[in-house]
């Protein structure tokens, strides 16, 4: 049993292991989920979260086993619907720290509808989408984020589907916090998780997660030491968009068109670069489209990681409770007998 708080409600200092359950973790050895689990446990400990005020809600899929491994409250619900369970829970108790754990199939295929409505309603919770671009639990079929022409057991001649872009989708749903991180960069992940927790409203985090059994190396180009500097772009608020081994490359905007420039040879300085402003929705939309093949020889844009966009908008549950209070103030506490009798009544004597 986890340590919680002393009789005065002051939390004992918790460590990451205090957020771990006694259940055996059953993900495949080498799965990217382990790293995410570790970072989430560490982050909650660092943030001083109380386990009993924290709830993990998940759908179905490998990632959705997550709640069983968190020594908090947790619900492993049904496929794709975790956002809807979490919405009802937040209305019932807005004070809980709620974390929705989902995957690319769970959130974007069967649960696409709920995903959209969760984001536009802006419940104050965090949603972590473990994107491994494959169906793991059902053994390797392509997912809505899989690249085109993917050969899988259900697509032996290659898939035809055009992949969804989760960040662009989230921005299209007017999400108030949109970020991307990866399993292989714990420090970055922790930073994004902390920012997500601090955000009031729905915080959407796409986590690139390696499925080493069915889709090994899907994000290798972004995560491996050799290629990472040239393919990833770490977004930092107020900082110019630079990348490359020696930060020798940058991104500048030519009108609405982003262009990669070489600071050493193209005649540009850092002052000419695009400065990241995560309050700019239009620019976030352009960043979201850095989605093509980033390999240097393909000439693509680097893949951005970090917070794309963040804005303040009242949460659904806060507004709902405000409305409840306002109505109770103006109409007074309801009288059950008056309610039952309704408008017109008569007596039979």
């Amino acid at each position: 049993m986890a340590i919680e708080s002393n009789p005065n409600g002051i939390p004992y200092t918790l460590k990451a292991k205090d957020f771990a359950t006694d259940q055996d973790v059953r993900w495949c050895p080498g799965c990217g989920d382990y790293s995410i689990l570790k970072q989430v446990q560490t982050t909650l400990a660092d943030l001083g979260k109380l386990p009993h005020e924290t709830v993990f809600v998940s759908g179905i899929g490998c990632s959705s086993r997550f709640p069983y491994y968190m020594e908090t409250y947790g619900m492993h619900s049904i496929h794709g619907r975790a956002p809807a369970f979490a919405s009802g829970l937040k209305i019932a108790n807005p004070n809980l720290s709620v974390w929705v754990i989902t995957g690319d199939g769970d959130a974007l295929s069967i649960g696409g509808n709920h995903f959209m409505h969760l984001l536009r309603r802006n419940f104050d919770l965090n949603i972590l989408l473990f994107n491994n671009q494959i169906y793991g639990l059902t053994k390797g079929q392509y997912s809505p984020t899989s690249e085109e022409h993917k050969k899988t057991p259900s697509t032996p001649f290659g898939s035809i589907d055009h992949p969804v872009n989760p960040i662009a989708l989230a921005l299209g749903c007017d999400a108030t916090f949109v970020a991307r991180t990866m399993d292989r960069d714990p420090k970055h992940m922790k930073d994004v998780l902390q920012q997500a927790d601090a955000h009031q409203g729905t915080s959407f985090i796409e986590v690139y997660q390696n499925c080493n059994i069915f889709n090994d190396g899907a994000f290798e180009v972004f995560t491996e030491k050799d290629s990472k500097p040239d393919t990833t772009l770490i977004l930092e608020q107020g900082q110019p968009l630079v990348f490359g081994k020696n930060n020798e490359k940058g991104v500048r905007l030519d009108g609405f068109t982003p262009k990669v420039v070489d600071l050493n040879s193209d005649g540009f300085t850092k002052d000419d670069l695009w400065v990241h402003d995560n309050t700019d929705q239009v620019k976030a939309g352009i960043l979201a489209r850095f989605f093509d093949n980033p390999a240097a020889d393909a000439g693509g844009m680097p893949r951005p990681f970090g917070v794309f966009y963040q804005t303040d908008r009242p949460s659904y549950e806060a507004q709902l409770h405000e409305q409840l209070n306002a109505v109770q103030q103006s109409m007074g506490e309801g009288d059950l007998d008056k309610l039952i009798a309704g408008g017109s009544t008569w007596e039979i004597a």
Binding site: P51, M75, A84, G88, Q323
Partner: protein
């Protein structure tokens, strides 16, 4: 002109017109006025699925049937004493159901050549001018012309003025049945208090209709219906969906739990959502979800957080909720799922009534997935049935399906309403950390086999729940074969044990044993009751029992059925309860089914049972 009113024991009126003619409102207002005079009554609104079906056509006819009287009234009646037909199509659809010698009130302007053509009357034929209406008392009124004249100068356009036609007709009928205009005027003043032009026009039309009836000689007959001998008490008029909404609010207050209602609009359940969304001053949280699945999922989430989670829908929505309902069974979470049934399968007959979701409620989920089923039998029963569904859900930690249907949802009748303070509190205790209790066991059960309700936010009770099979007691994931069988049996036993916590089945009327038991559920209540009373009066040994609890059945039901030679089960479906009764009791129960989207008529069931008795 003064006339002596003739006294009637009961009257059946059918208001029929185009779906834009306001017949539902006219019928509803006449019903409200009737209720206040102390008559017993039953109503049957019947309208097309389209909001504005093609004007003037047979498909677009909307009807409202009212049966009221000085005796007990159980059904809206089979044949009408009075038909109000606002146009040719309304006459065409309804004339066959008017009693011989009955009264037909027609709006003459609705029988011009265009209306006749739209109603598919043959060229050159006008039922007002040929022999069609021979044998009926026919009152032809130029409603449109008289309404326009009565309103006179007004800021309103012709279209808006013509919308007051229904008030003219209502005024006419209120005079005819010896009523005053007070109730209706009060309603109009409240409804249009911010729209003085519309208020003025409606009031003028209403008064004009009233005065017209008083003045013209051809319509000078006036009628009264004495108050019925109803039980002493305070009454109001109630329809089924309002009854359910009130029951939910009162249950939440008595349980001490905020009510959460997650729902997606669907006919004929939507008005529960509308009703509850007005009651925010009772702390009711309503959530119009993005779909049926999110509606039930949000309700389960709210229950998990310690609210009284409720969702409401109709048949197609229940189908969509099936998987989540299975999760609620697995989580053993309190939840009430209301299914206001309509004609199926698929989209079926959205505005027509049917009792065809019983087997879906009983079996429509994957796996062995038992849950309690409670059924509403009539509008005035919905309040209590809804409270019972909530009580069972919370006390037994289980999802409950509450079945109603379109006929109950929209039909109205007098309701001897209770006082909230007379109803017992049903306070709920959430699980709390036990001193030295060690690891919390979320699936440790009480004497009812109910598990503790441990809500997030409570220190010391950290645990995980989910749809994967649980280990007994600990609630940990378990794929152990023997544990699975044990849990399947336990979940079933838990539901069956509810039989110990519900009231015994009673005979509504007639004999406690004898030749035929009419065993009903849901909206066949009225017809089962009226047929049983008629047969009993004629000396037959017949009894009527009506089930509120369909799963589990009351413990005494088997013995009750054994007291009769034959059990007849009337249903508005192709035989569903009868299957369950045969399966459970190995009893050759006899089905009586009607699947036409309408209630069973008195004479249909009466004739069927008489034939059996012969």
């Amino acid at each position: 002109m003064t006339t002596t009113a003739q006294e009637k024991k009961s009257v059946i009126i059918k208001f029929a017109g185009d779906s834009g003619d306001g017949m539902q409102l006219t019928g509803g207002l006449f019903t409200d006025d009737t209720a206040i005079t102390g008559s017993d009554l039953a109503t049957f609104p019947d309208f097309p699925a389209e909001i504005r079906a093609p004007i003037g056509t047979v498909a677009g006819v909307s009807g409202f049937q009212l049966h009221f009287g000085s005796q007990r009234i159980f059904t809206p009646g089979d044949r009408f004493d009075v038909l109000v037909a606002m146009n040719a199509a309304a006459l065409k659809v309804n004339l066959k159901s008017v009693k011989k010698g009955g009264t037909v009130i027609v709006s003459e302007d609705g029988f011009d050549s265009r209306n006749l053509r739209l109603a598919n009357y043959p060229e050159e034929q006008n039922p007002l001018e040929d022999s069609t209406l021979e044998g009926y008392e026919v009152l032809k009124i130029q409603v449109t012309k008289l309404t326009r004249e009565s309103i006179g100068d007004s800021a309103l356009g012709t279209k808006e003025r013509d919308r007051c036609k229904n008030m003219f007709v209502l005024g006419f009928l209120l005079w005819r049945y010896s009523r005053s205009l007070d109730t209706t005027l009060k309603f109009l003043n409240a409804k249009f208090k911010n729209k003085p032009d519309i208020l003025d026009a409606n009031v003028k039309a209403l008064q004009a209709g009233y005065n017209f009836a008083d003045t013209v000689e051809f319509a000078s007959d006036r009628y009264t219906v004495a108050p019925a001998e109803l039980e002493k008490g305070s009454y109001r008029s109630i329809n089924g969906n309002d009854g359910i909404a009130l029951g939910l609010v009162v249950a939440s207050k008595k349980l001490g739990l905020p009510l959460f209602y997650g729902s997606y609009p669907i006919t004929p359940a939507s008005s529960i959502l509308h009703g509850l969304s007005k009651h925010k001053n009772f702390g009711v949280r309503t959530f119009q979800a993005e779909d049926e699945i999110a509606a039930i999922a949000s309700a389960i989430g709210a229950s998990y957080g310690g609210n009284l989670g409720v969702t409401g829908t109709s048949g197609p929505g229940l189908a969509l909720k099936g998987e989540a309902l299975g999760l609620a069974v697995m989580l053993e979470m309190p939840l009430v799922v209301i299914d206001v049934q309509r004609g199926g399968p698929s989209t079926g007959l959205p505005t027509k009534t049917e009792q065809s979701d019983l087997l879906q409620a009983m079996y429509g989920r994957n796996g062995e997935c038992p849950l309690p089923i409670v059924s509403c039998s009539r509008p005035s029963d919905c309040f209590e049935a809804a409270m019972e569904a909530c009580r069972i859900a919370v006390q037994h930690m289980t999802p409950v399906v509450l079945l109603s249907d379109g006929y109950i949802a929209n039909g109205a009748e007098p309701w001897k309403y209770p006082k909230a303070s007379d109803m017992p509190e049903m306070k709920v205790e959430f699980a709390q950390q036990q001193e030295g209790g060690g690891h919390f066991m979320p699936y440790q059960r009480d004497e009812k086999l109910a598990r503790p309700w441990a809500i997030p936010g409570t220190p010391g009770l950290l645990h995980r729940i989910g749809g994967i099979e649980k280990e007994d007691v600990t609630g940990n994931i378990s794929y152990d074969p023997a544990n699975h069988e044990h849990m399947v049996k336990t979940r079933e036993r838990k539901v069956e044990m509810i039989a110990d916590y519900i009231s015994a089945q009673k005979i509504e009327s007639g004999h406690e044993s004898g030749d035929v038991l009419i065993l009903g559920w849901g909206s066949t209540y009225g017809v089962c009751e009226s047929v049983t009373r008629s047969l009993t009066e004629q000396g037959f040994a017949v009894g009527h029992a009506h089930l509120r609890y369909i799963r589990p059945f009351p413990a005494n039901l088997a013995a009750m059925m054994q007291g009769f030679k034959t059990v007849v089960i009337p249903e508005i479906n192709n035989g569903q309860l009868v299957k369950i009764i045969r399966d459970k009791f190995l009893l050759p129960a006899v089905p009586f089914n009607k699947i036409q989207g309408t209630p069973i008529a008195h004479e249909e069931l009466f004739d069927f049972v008489v034939n059996l008795l012969k």
